[in-house]
């Protein structure tokens, strides 16, 4: 027969309450008592049952952070920011990589109310996801396309595009090309309109680009089809890293011949050679807004929903546009 908490208390010579306090990592318990209780737990093979506890309180105090791919550095950076902010608000966070599989996102959402009190869903939503699932629970979308009736926090893409366009004009660039802007909802339209208001459709562009290897392949194809390009405007720092690799291989000087810009402000761009001009979306501020919305959604009855916070971005000017030794 399985051991009970009562057995543990008896073997350790303490009260049930003390066993509970040790198991829940409460403060101010004498180390000697903790050791005795843990030894009893180990000897009896007792497994503390938190499901019973969650059943009583109706809250788990855990928030799910659904992230498409931890191997995308910006996803990892933003996930980390969401976890840190959850902790700051007294919640635990569990990061759930979904690989943009609708079944995985649905599994996370359907665990809200059991394993999780709420969910923060990061990045573009997978095709085929039932939007009803997003509406029935405390959910906040973070840097996803907005969904009617669901709270969301996004970066100000129009501002980002405008900052990039003005900087490139100041640096004398007249023939920009785009890589990977379909990453963002309406991304290609927004950046093309900022860079070339009169003829946005004529800008050379490569879509469907995510990894460094994709970025390298996109750069090869741009150099072949549009050899007079003088700026490559990338939708992520990862893509830009692949582009820089190809330009270095070909002996094309950056930024003298071709300027390069990224997006995301990951650490890697600062240490790239040359260092990468980029847009910093401010992950810490995004996380604060997201937790504000989520906690408000958890506590208000009926819950507010469908609010949309647009967070400001900043341009980080570095060597891939300014020139080496300047930044």
């Amino acid at each position: 027969m399985a051991a009970t908490m009562r057995d543990v208390a008896a073997l350790a010579g303490v009260s049930l309450k003390t066993v509970s306090r040790v198991v829940n990592l409460e403060p101010h318990i004498r180390p000697e008592v903790i050791r005795r209780v843990r030894a009893a737990i180990a000897e009896l093979g007792w497994v503390p049952n938190g499901s019973a506890r969650a059943l009583r309180t109706g809250r788990t105090n855990v928030v799910a952070v659904a992230v498409p791919h931890l191997q995308r550095p910006y996803h990892a950076l933003l996930a980390e920011a969401l976890v840190v902010e959850s902790n700051r608000r007294g919640m635990q966070a569990a990061v759930e990589p979904t690989h943009r599989d609708p079944a995985r996102v649905e599994a996370v959402l359907s665990s809200v109310g059991r394993s999780f009190d709420g969910a923060l869903v990061m990045g573009r939503l997978p095709d085929g996801l039932d939007p009803e699932l997003l509406r029935t629970r405390p959910v906040v979308l973070v840097q996803a396309e907005p969904v009617d009736g669901v709270d969301a926090v996004s970066v100000d893409l129009v501002e980002a595009a405008s900052l990039l366009a003005r900087h490139l004009v100041v640096m004398g660039r007249r023939r920009p090309a785009l890589i990977g802007w379909d990453r963002f909802t309406s991304g290609e339209a927004v950046i093309a309109a900022a860079l070339s208001p009169d003829s946005p459709d004529t800008l050379p562009r490569v879509s469907g680009v995510t990894t460094r290897a994709d970025g390298a392949a996109a750069a090869e194809s741009l150099l072949a089809s549009s050899p007079d390009v003088d700026a490559v405007v990338c939708a992520s720092d990862e893509i830009a890293t692949g582009v820089l690799h190809v330009l270095a291989e070909r002996g094309i000087e950056v930024p003298r011949a071709v300027a390069v810009t990224g997006f995301d402000g990951i650490d890697e761009g600062l240490f790239a050679t040359p260092s990468l001009t980029t847009i910093d979306p401010g992950p810490a501020a995004l996380a604060r807004h997201a937790l504000d919305l989520l906690l408000d959604g958890l506590s208000s009855t009926p819950p507010q929903a469908g609010r949309h916070v647009l967070a400001p971005v900043s341009l980080v000017r570095r060597e891939t546009t300014l020139g080496q030794g300047v930044a």
Copy 2:
């Protein structure tokens, strides 16, 4: 009064069993039925209670992946591999960033048996963690220092050091320096013995180095104190990236003047300029071994424990040792 599952079934005109199947995302339910049940759930504001379910089955089918820092690219890479392998074995995985805080690791471990069926604990353990907590539960350490009585999977550091040392000798390097090898248990001793068996203690070295910025600072200090170094042997690709940045700034040619090696095999090293020679620890194989041990620990009574799997590594030769245009 809060809505019940019975209310949902009545409103949707289906059986309790059907509501349960929809909530648990079981296959082969007609889309029309799914929509009706979800509409009823939304209308009544019913929250499915998984805690009750976990209480009945005693299993959550979720494994915790405790990872120090998602912003360290290799931690994110290995976490992703552990999640993918957990999914392949039919388990959900929750990634828990711990920031090497003993209280956070203890919180994850104390949730085993409630929120989680078991835990995979990655990387060096935080100081002050009570090893008893590791012994009482289904836990597997992944690339951590071994703890008596706890299952563990590690990379073969001696083999890695030997591969690096032989390659550097073949490439004509005689005056190597070490950066960051205290990352691994006995790391400095193992790599120094491989590189300089006769006088391991005389190798220049910098310890306590983690980020790209740390790596850059360490390179500055090495160049000042040991200007004749002809190879910088880094304990991570991140550190190596910081070193490459400083060498490029100073106009020091890699590898003609100084060769550089990393460790981890992250994607960033392949796209660095020049591309980075590194050790690939084989995260997919590490994850397979870790899940083998964990699932075995979950199913066997009394559980096996204290087994130690040493996984082989491989050397990835690239431009920072071979020269540009060669790799």
